[in-house]
């Protein structure tokens, strides 16, 4: 098949040796951006879904799968757009997940473990990595942000739930405590004192006459997937509007 000159030119550009722009710049970029991306993702998660991520007794089957995927897909989506646009890498979501995991891990270990002595099995962070891989894979396959938002957003929310329900399962075992049967997570939540966080502030499933056949979890997953799609477009808005040069033009326009 004949190849036009433009294609040839671009092929050469892909492999062109640059005198001043070597691989060090790649390393500098990826490493320095890791802190910013990790912090941005973690802060976004904490703003929207902090307590659900902090405590096992908040990690419930109704609110956790709705709030957290929405919160964590935002920065991942923005990064997905930027990294696909600039380098054609389907890595934005996974990069965000990896960076956020490292930031959260350090924060959780230092702030919650070393400084205020919470056992790590009570305050472990949720993982976003498996969900992110699916979202990046959908972008690679579809090459479309619209399709990624719909298919990837739904896959993201569902995979996120599966990948976090697995470590959560041991803490949902029934325990005998204070004349009641509660979960191990409930016991953690009361025994490990949380000053200024009275239990009634805990937003978890409390039952509703509108619950569909008692299947709270599946209804929440569907709704969580829907809001994850919305969150994806919040991230796209950030990526397309704020994070792409020239920022000044955007700021003036708005």
């Amino acid at each position: 098949m004949a190849v036009d000159s433009k294609t040839l030119e671009l092929r050469q550009l892909v492999n062109k040796k640059y005198k001043y722009i070597d691989r060090k710049w790649d390393a500098v970029f990826w490493i320095t951006a890791a802190f910013v991306v990790g912090a941005a993702a973690d802060i976004t998660k904490q703003l929207f879904a902090g307590d659900w991520d902090f405590w096992t007794d908040w990690k419930d089957r109704q609110w956790w799968p709705i709030i957290t995927p929405f919160a964590i897909i935002i920065i991942g989506s923005a990064l997905q757009y930027i990294q696909w646009l600039a380098w054609r890498f389907p890595t934005g979501m996974t990069y965000t997940a990896v960076c956020m995991f490292l930031c959260t891990l350090i924060g959780r270990w230092l702030q919650w473990g070393a400084f205020v002595y919470y056992p790590m099995n009570f305050v472990w962070p949720a993982t976003m990595v498996a969900a992110a891989i699916f979202a990046d894979w959908v972008l690679l396959k579809t090459k479309s942000f619209v399709l990624t938002s719909v298919i990837g957003g739904i896959l993201f929310a569902v995979t996120w739930w599966i990948s976090n329900y697995i470590p959560m399962a041991p803490f949902l075992q029934p325990a005998q405590w204070m004349d009641r049967v509660v979960t191990v997570a409930d016991v953690q939540g009361i025994e490990y004192v949380r000053s200024q966080t009275p239990e009634y502030l805990r937003i978890i499933e409390s039952g509703s006459l509108r619950t569909f056949l008692g299947e709270t979890q599946y209804v929440s997953l569907v709704f969580g997937a829907t809001v994850a799609v919305a969150g994806y477009w919040v991230g796209q808005f950030i990526g397309r509007g704020l994070a792409i040069w020239p920022i000044g033009r955007f700021m003036k326009k708005w």
Partner: protein, 410 residues
């Protein structure tokens, strides 16, 4: 001096000042209770006879905090819309240095929140275990939905290291006990690290063998909805390898799911427990006394609060005013002026009868100011609290007292 040197000096001065400021700050040993407005602390929850059974325990050993908390009838209308209906009794401490092992309110176990009401009386007992070695300030607390957390009287608790080790065991319904200090910690970390490693491998695949920054020269010239395969940006091999990544992730999730299903077949959703504890005997006891709205005066020179009020003894026998308590403070009736004592004139014994008896309560205690309990400068000049009356045969009654503070502007 050049501008550069000036800037450098200012920077150094700022760093040194900051270091001195931080370095000289004393360790915080309170929980912010004094920052709450005095009239709110006095009009919300009264703490009566709060007692700590021990002040020194080893890790794992327990002590109890007992007492009575009363939600005052004078509860402010601006808090919880004047209708406190959900409460939580807990512990305030610097983190989980102690563990709450058991909590009873009015004689029944209360794992979490309770229904409450204005005027409600809650006799509590909390069994607390030492966890982290050290000396910690511990308070009981009463949180009210829509209002916030009110602190009860605190105590310094010393937790000593247990040479036999420390575990925090909980009984599972399915049999056996688990140690909550490290239960399932290893599987959780293994899972989190495994998923992280997959993500890291994905990133290494794309960023180490491939160039990043220079790709912009190509991507800026091609449409967004293409993977640039014809130019060599993304190859068929990349697609194939990413499929393997996804298959690997699916397999990992499947293995994880099978593991949790097999290892933990019995699971519950987190529980919400809320009920109204039974009324204590004291709540249905006959009313012994009523107090009229009083007048309070505070003399800062002598740290003395004087409250004049009228008390009507509604019973058929003399009653004795034994105690006045407000927020975290308690004064027992006595004759010598000083901290912890309330002097009652003309007499702490009130005879029965329909006519009110004028009474003056005098409390000389620097705690009024130390605890920021004189509400001068606040939006309600009120002194509130609970008077504890007792009869000769041991009947006890709580009577609220509210007095308008007459400030003295010096």
């Amino acid at each position: 001096m050049t501008m550069r040197r000036r800037i450098r000096r200012v920077l150094w001065a700022t760093i040194v000042a900051g270091a001195l400021l931080v370095g000289s700050a004393p360790a915080a040993s309170a929980h912010g209770e004094r920052a709450q407005e005095a009239f709110l602390r006095m009009r919300t929850v009264a703490w009566i006879d709060t007692t700590f059974s021990r002040t020194t325990v080893r890790q794992g050993e327990t002590f109890t905090i007992t007492g009575t908390a009363k939600i005052l009838d004078a509860w402010p209308t601006r808090l919880a819309a004047g209708n406190p209906n959900t409460g939580f009794m807990g512990i305030i401490a610097p983190g989980p240095v102690v563990l709450l092992k058991e909590r009873t309110i009015n004689g029944v176990s209360v794992p979490t929140r309770i229904d409450i009401r204005r005027g409600g009386i809650y006799e509590f007992s909390m069994t607390v275990a030492g966890r982290r070695p050290g000396r910690w300030h511990v308070h009981p607390s009463f949180s009210v939905k829509g209002a916030g957390t009110l602190l009860g009287p605190g105590e310094w608790i010393t937790v000593e290291e247990n040479p036999d080790g420390f575990t925090n065991d909980v009984q599972l319904v399915g049999g056996g006990t688990v140690n909550l200090e490290n239960y399932q910690l290893t599987p959780v970390w293994i899972w989190l690290i495994l998923t992280f490693l997959i993500g890291l491998a994905w990133m290494i695949y794309w960023t180490v063998p491939k160039r990043t920054v220079t790709n912009l020269a190509v991507t800026s010239q091609i449409p967004l909805n293409t993977d640039g395969m014809e130019y060599g940006l993304i190859t068929k091999k990349d697609h194939r390898n990413m499929n393997w990544f996804v298959i690997g992730t699916i397999l990992l999730l499947a293995v994880g799911w099978i593991w949790q299903s097999a290892a933990f077949p019995d699971k519950l959703p987190q529980q919400i427990i809320q009920f109204a504890p039974p009324e204590p005997a004291i709540a249905s006891a006959p009313v012994l006394a009523e107090a009229g709205v009083g007048t309070a005066r505070y003399d800062s020179a002598s740290d003395t609060m004087t409250i004049e009020t009228e008390i009507t003894n509604r019973s058929q026998e003399p009653i004795n005013l034994t105690q006045f308590t407000t927020t975290t403070l308690r004064w027992t009736t006595g004759s010598a002026a000083g901290p912890g004592t309330v002097q009652v004139a003309p007499d702490s014994t009130i005879e029965p009868g329909s006519a009110p008896t004028p009474v003056t309560l005098t409390i000389k205690d620097p705690a009024w100011e130390a605890e920021h309990l004189v509400p001068i400068g606040e939006s309600q000049l009120l002194i509130s609290g609970v008077m504890v009356f007792e009869t000769a045969d041991g009947q006890v009654n709580f009577t609220e007292l509210e007095a308008n503070l007459q400030p003295r502007f010096e």
